[in-house]
């Protein structure tokens, strides 16, 4: 019986942890990607999917279309069916025609630039089909990630030094 652990090389696929949440391939089920808790310097992959809106249930908040788990993202959505479908950054989108979100126009793509931590909600009154493209700003994603890492490193050093000086004192 082999007691050795499976061989994985540094940087191999098995060691990478995607910040893009898993997406079901069942196209008949409306779904919202769940937020990812992964942190890192930057995420450059594009997430392309088709989103199916659901009939809302009383009291339920609207679905999350994008959960703000990247540093900077350009989210492009295009409604393919009749709607009405509203998107917005707050969870009080219902009723759809209340004006608290932006109504999508059929066949017209709309782009939003979203910073980390902000969510994009989507609300509808029936089943609709929405094309979704979540793409990073490669340079901005990288710079923001590096700056974040740098700040974290400096903060860590400062904390360590403060700890040492505290012991001396």
């Amino acid at each position: 019986m082999n007691k050795l652990p499976p061989l994985t090389l540094p940087g191999s696929v098995a060691n990478r942890r995607s910040k893009i949440a898993p997406v079901s391939l069942d196209r008949t089920v409306a779904q919202a990607p769940t937020p990812s808790d992964a942190l890192g310097a930057g995420e450059n992959r594009i997430q392309i999917s088709t989103y199916f809106t659901k009939v809302p249930v009383d009291g339920q908040p609207p679905d999350v279309l994008y959960s703000g788990d990247r540093n900077w993202t350009r989210v492009r959505v295009m409604l393919e069916t009749a709607g009405p479908v509203a998107v917005g950054q707050f969870s009080n989108l219902f009723p759809v025609l209340s004006g608290r979100g932006q109504l999508l126009t059929t066949g017209v793509p709309v782009t939003f630039d979203i910073a980390k931590g902000n969510k994009l909600y989507i609300a509808a009154q029936s089943v609709n089909r929405v094309k979704v493209t979540i793409e990073p700003y490669p340079w901005l994603e990288m710079i923001t990630g590096l700056l974040g890492s740098l700040v974290a490193a400096v903060r860590g050093t400062t904390t360590a030094l403060a700890g040492k000086s505290g012991k001396v004192g």
Partner: protein
């Protein structure tokens, strides 16, 4: 009606640009629904029904239900809202786009000359064909296709009546040839407009118009009839009668065009 009824939401999730409701009618009360909103409604190419009612959710309409009608000459463009979370009043039924034929259909209709003891009747069930577009189709030309029906041999003891849908049609070409080498075949054509009536009563309200009086067609002879809206009128259905097993090819072509 088709069972199970086609699910409009599945047309959305399967990537289609439209929901097509195409089903033969089985009773005058057939009603259908679409769960999703549309940007246009049109009669489908294979529809026998000429006038179709559509109801949709409208918060400003009485009972929140607004109506429109489409036909072979008139489609509807603009968003028809299903609005599933809202409810129609006072029924408190959830929002839907409801679709049902405005034209009457009565499978219990029997011609005045029908004898229940010896005669038989066959209906070509009218097809309801409606297309709901999810995206703006630009322009719509809701023309129906011409339909052709062919019959040749008949199972009968007395007279056989064949009922063919004719809603909104403007022209019909009929060609009947008796290929029985010995016996004549009595052939006739009626135009009927259905009424809401009790068919069990001795005097149902259906309206019948004789287009071609039943007359014997000799062996080897043929009859050609052209029915036009201008000269004969408009009917819900045409009723063809024969009283011989045949062979007797009967070819019927119905069209929306007035054919000059």
């Amino acid at each position: 009606m088709a069972f199970p009824q086609p699910d409009s939401a599945k047309y959305v999730t399967s990537g289609s640009d439209f929901f097509r409701l195409r089903t033969p009618l089985s009773s005058p009360g057939d009603m259908y629904e679409s769960l999703v909103s549309g940007l246009a409604m049109s009669l489908g190419p294979e529809s026998d029904i000429a006038n179709v009612n559509v109801a949709y959710f409208d918060a400003q309409a009485p009972n929140f239900m607004q109506f429109t009608q489409i036909s072979q000459a008139r489609c509807f463009t603009g968003r028809l809202d299903a609005n599933n979370p809202s409810k129609y009043s006072p029924s408190q039924r959830p929002g839907r786009v409801l679709i049902w034929p405005d034209d009457l259909y009565d499978p219990n209709y029997r011609p005045r000359s029908f004898s229940a003891l010896t005669d038989a009747i066959q209906f070509i069930s009218p097809v309801l064909d409606v297309v709901q577009y999810f995206s703006d189709p630009g322009t719509l030309t809701p023309s129906r296709i011409d339909k052709e029906y062919q019959f040749q041999n008949y199972i009968l003891t007395g007279t056989l009546y064949i009922v063919v849908p004719y809603y909104g049609r403007k022209f019909c070409y009929v060609n009947f040839t008796n290929r029985n080498s010995v016996q004549p075949n009595t052939f006739g054509i009626l135009g009927v407009n259905y009424a809401i009536t009790n068919n069990a009563s001795p005097n149902p309200y259906h309206q019948e118009t004789v287009i071609h009086s039943p007359a014997a067609v000799a062996a080897g002879a043929a009859v050609t009839v052209r029915i036009t809206a201008a000269s004969n009128g408009v009917f819900d259905a045409l009723v063809f009668s024969v009283n011989n097993n045949g062979p007797a090819p009967l070819r019927i072509v119905v069209s929306d065009e007035s054919q000059g």
